[in-house]
């Protein structure tokens, strides 16, 4: 090994990174501070969409003690429903109504077929079972819908702020708006409706709820159906805002349970905040660390947050439950 070469290489790359970093900070802070606004807004809008998916994940985790690895695939399925609507001439924005309606029944069907056998078991079993469902789904979708990467055009236009330096695609604003509406709607539904209360009761204490007359089977099926419906909405929004492909589901799954973990189980407002926080973090990581480290740094952040919590709790001689 030629030490002079190696040393020289390291010095060269260090200088390069230092230079790039300085240029970037200069860009962000002095030349175009508006980029920070753009990054923050992008992050928030992105985060809200992920938070919606995370909400569904948190729901079934809290109620049924299930981690659904196929979450992302349900999102993609919702996206395909919207795509086919778009192909037949219907405006894809209506997908946010049609997709959840269809996906609800997909969810209930999936529950009756497979999930109900996994509910009472170890959380881990659900991870593996839903992993099996996930790879099955991906290939079925590949077979049914073809392998093309597709998207649906909403033609919503763009909102320009600050003298055209900040551009927000209206599709992203629409996504955020719809996500918020559905999230709030769900919260209200949970509080006021009979089924919602039954769900909450079951989440608190399934056995007691059963004794008091709640049909837990129906509750579980409905919860999973609601989760699938939320994924359907998210999928419709993804089709309008990004692209869909049978194998693009996994990142949504991973991101959603990352958000749930960071928020902490049972902390629903936390899901929204974590979602947006992670979105903003990711955007800023893109600018500061470089696009290639964007996703890696988000996961590193997850690890750091968990480790930090662990140490904080261990001081009290407790641990994360």
């Amino acid at each position: 090994m030629l030490p002079s070469n190696r040393g020289h290489f390291y010095i060269k790359s260090f200088k390069f990174y230092l230079e790039s970093f300085k240029n970037l900070m200069d860009l962000l802070i002095f030349q175009v501070p508006i980029l920070m606004v753009q990054a923050s807004l992008d992050g928030i809008l992105l985060g809200i969409l992920f938070a919606l998916i995370a909400y569904g994940m948190a729901l079934q985790w809290g109620v049924m003690n299930i981690i659904n690895i196929a979450q992302g695939d349900l999102v993609i399925l919702g996206g395909y429903i919207t795509y086919f609507m778009y192909l037949s001439g219907i405006h894809p924005a209506l997908g946010v109504i049609v997709a959840p309606a269809i996906m609800y029944f997909v969810g209930v069907g999936l529950y009756k077929l497979v999930i109900n056998k996994v509910v009472d078991r170890d959380l881990f079993i659900s991870i593996l079972a839903t992993f099996g469902i996930s790879i099955l789904f991906m290939q079925l979708m590949n077979f049914a819908f073809g392998a093309d990467v597709v998207l649906a055009n909403s033609e919503f236009g763009t909102t320009m702020l600050f003298n055209n330096s900040v551009t927000l695609p209206n599709s992203k604003l629409f996504s955020a708006l719809i996500s918020i509406i559905f999230a709030i709607g769900l919260v209200i539904y949970m509080k006021k409706s009979k089924l919602g209360r039954a769900i909450r009761a079951t989440a608190q204490n399934a056995r007691a709820a059963k004794i008091l007359g709640v049909d837990t089977e129906k509750v579980y099926a409905a919860t999973f159906g609601i989760n699938a419906a939320l994924c359907g909405v998210a999928g419709a929004l993804v089709a309008i805002t990004f692209t869909i492909h049978p194998y693009m589901g996994l990142p949504y799954t991973i991101r959603s349970f990352m958000i749930v973990i960071i928020a902490g189980l049972g902390n629903l407002p936390g899901v929204a905040v974590s979602g947006m926080g992670l979105g903003v973090f990711e955007e800023f990581a893109d600018y500061i660390l470089g696009t290639e480290f964007r996703i890696g740094s988000v996961f590193l952040l997850l690890v750091l947050i968990l480790v930090y919590r662990r140490f904080k709790l261990s001081k009290k001689r407790e641990y994360l439950k």
């Binding site: 992993f131 790879i135 789904f137 996703i295 590193l300």
Partner: protein, 350 residues
């Protein structure tokens, strides 16, 4: 019992040594099988014996892969130039250089992940249950993504490992990697088996059954947790190093830190065979590999559907795996004594 065991082990060893000659067309498949078994065996230390479901052992596997290849190249040629532009410049290893590099590379691939496990163990192993699972998953994904941005190990263009030197026959490369992976498999098995026959295993089981009580009894659980992880890291690193040389091309998220496939498969295999047992992961890995290859041949285009159905069926109906299911049906054969009255009195709870 002991004598029969020796016959069994001898039979397997003989089969293992003769396999590449009896089934020459399957050398690569068998090598991969050996590596899968190693991954399943080591995962079982965390998942089966300790109750800590780790999705992050792939971290050590990937680290081992990159380290082995980097050392093998870096010992003789400038690593940066090897990986520059996706590997345009070609340097050729002489046979001595290749094997020397491989030896040191594997050594580093085993030791460095072990040290990493020791360093981060205190922080990560303090988490429990699903927090541990997700944290390790995050580690695996982060490692894959971040290594995809590091230029010196190839970044997005991947890292082509040194080609096998032109010695011996066409079969030499396959044979070399097969024997290497078989050797590592034997080492892993022996190590794991001997660890299981000591108090160490009992401590791990105690942690699995109730960690707080174990701590209350005075067991320094953290020490044992970390040591267990270090053992896994050691062999996972070795496995990764060998796989890197076998495949010939290292891609950060698809080959090295392959959480999506290898990372999950190691869990599945251990569960399929029966986690918490010694032979469970071995049988599980073997069956899994057979099924997977069978599906890929006969169900092309549907292989994942078949695999998905298989996984769901196993997880729902055989969550204890094959070994666990056998243990339930024939507990005597596993050395457990069952009271006849007890068995008759068993009621099925719906």
């Amino acid at each position: 019992m002991k004598k029969n065991n020796i016959i069994l082990y001898a039979a397997i060893l003989i089969f293992g040594v003769l396999a590449p000659f009896m089934l020459p067309a399957f050398k690569v498949q068998l090598s991969i099988l050996c590596i899968l078994i190693v991954l399943a065996l080591t995962w079982n230390i965390q998942g089966g014996e300790m109750g800590y479901n780790s999705f992050g052992n792939i971290l050590f596997y990937g680290l081992g892969m990159y380290i082995c290849a980097s050392v093998q190249v870096g010992m003789f040629f400038p690593l940066a130039e090897w990986t520059e532009s996706g590997g345009e410049k070609t340097f050729v290893h002489s046979p001595t250089q290749f094997f020397q590099g491989m030896a040191f590379g594997l050594l580093a691939a085993a030791i460095i992940p072990t040290i990493v496990a020791g360093l981060i163990g205190y922080a990560i192993l303090g988490l429990r249950g699903h927090y541990f699972a997700i944290c390790t998953l995050g580690l695996g994904v982060a490692a894959g993504e971040i290594s995809g941005g590091i230029e010196i190990i190839g970044a997005g263009q991947g890292f082509t490992t040194p080609p096998f030197p032109e010695i011996g026959s066409l079969e030499s490369r396959g044979q070399f990697f097969y024997f290497l992976s078989f050797l590592v498999l034997v080492l892993t098995f022996v190590a794991v088996k001997s660890v299981y026959s000591t108090r160490f295993k009992l401590v791990l089981n105690a942690i699995r059954d109730n960690e707080d009580k174990a701590e209350a009894m005075g067991i320094q659980t953290m020490k044992y947790k970390i040591i267990g992880w270090m053992i896994s890291a050691f062999f996972c690193g070795l496995a990764g190093g060998i796989m890197g040389g076998l495949v010939g091309y290292i891609d950060s998220t698809d080959v090295a830190f392959d959480g999506r496939e290898m990372g999950v498969f190691m869990v599945l295999m251990a569960i399929l065979g029966g986690k918490g047992t010694l032979w469970g992961p071995v049988i599980g890995a073997t069956l899994f590999h057979l099924f997977k290859e069978g599906f890929w041949t006969y169900f092309l285009g549907w292989q994942y559907v078949a695999l998905g159905v298989l996984i769901v069926v196993i997880v729902i109906y055989f969550p204890e795996g094959l070994m666990g299911w056998l243990r339930e049906k024939y507990p005597e054969r596993f050395g457990e004594v069952v009271d006849e009255a007890d068995r008759k009195a068993q009621v099925e709870l719906k």
